[in-house]
């Protein structure tokens, strides 16, 4: 979400406008009784612009790649809570630390 999403919506709108212009162009050709050889210049420009904007949106909106190496910086923090089930805090060491605190206070 954010800037990339807005850019993507804008690209899709440009494409819709290009489609509408092509429809109009074709009806014009029908009146002039000519064959469709290719899209007009402004439609081609719009299509290229729409493709570039959508490309940018498609590459930025889905999010960032996360590193899969276990040695990398971000994975060290993330992998810690995975072991939380094996951590036991309810043992007799708890009492020991309380006594230590009392000793430190006095």
């Amino acid at each position: 979400m954010g800037v990339g999403f807005v850019v993507g919506v804008f690209g899709v709108l440009i494409l819709a406008h290009a489609a509408y212009s092509t429809i109009q162009y074709r009806s014009l050709l029908k009146i002039m009784q000519e064959e469709f050889a290719g899209p007009p210049f402004n439609v081609a420009i719009e299509l290229v612009l729409g493709l570039v904007l959508s490309m940018w949106a498609a590459l930025t909106v889905p999010g960032k790649f996360l590193s899969i190496n276990p040695e990398s910086e971000e994975n060290r923090i993330v992998s810690l809570p995975a072991n939380l089930d094996f951590m036991v805090f309810n043992h007799r060491g708890k009492l020991f630390s309380q006594q230590l605190d009392l000793k430190l206070k006095h």
Binding site: L47, G50, M55, A58, F65, L66, V78
Partner: protein
């Protein structure tokens, strides 16, 4: 203490010998999901553009290959060209989501072509 440290160094060397590829599966899934998302969206956009341009038969498929090649380059640039810190192998970035993208490409290609050129 000495015994413990020697034990640890032994373990480390045996790990190096085994050389098992250890990776974070959750992050790999996340990266593959991002690739699928990008490819699906861009194949839909490519299909609409091919339909508006009025491509037929082989030209449209060549256009699809072009769009997917540009997408692959874009994804590689997004990964900073260091594939092995984000994916298992480099061809994951090039090939994943290619065929499913082709289906939606053909769907939206015919859809846009019908709207613009036939009706």
């Amino acid at each position: 203490m000495a015994g413990y440290s020697s034990n640890a160094s032994e373990k480390k060397s045996s790990d190096a010998v085994d050389d098992l590829p250890i990776l974070n599966a959750e992050n790999l899934q996340n990266n593959l999901k991002i690739i699928y998302y990008s490819r699906t969206f861009l194949s839909i956009i490519g299909g609409v553009i091919a339909g508006i341009l009025g491509f037929t038969s082989l030209t449209g498929f060549i256009f699809y290959f072009l769009v997917m090649a540009i997408t692959s380059i874009g994804l590689a640039a997004k990964a900073g060209f260091s594939f092995h810190s984000y994916f298992e192998s480099w061809n994951q970035i090039l090939l994943d989501g290619f065929l499913s993208g082709l289906m939606s490409f053909v769907l939206f290609w015919t859809f846009a072509y019908d709207i613009v050129h036939i009706f």
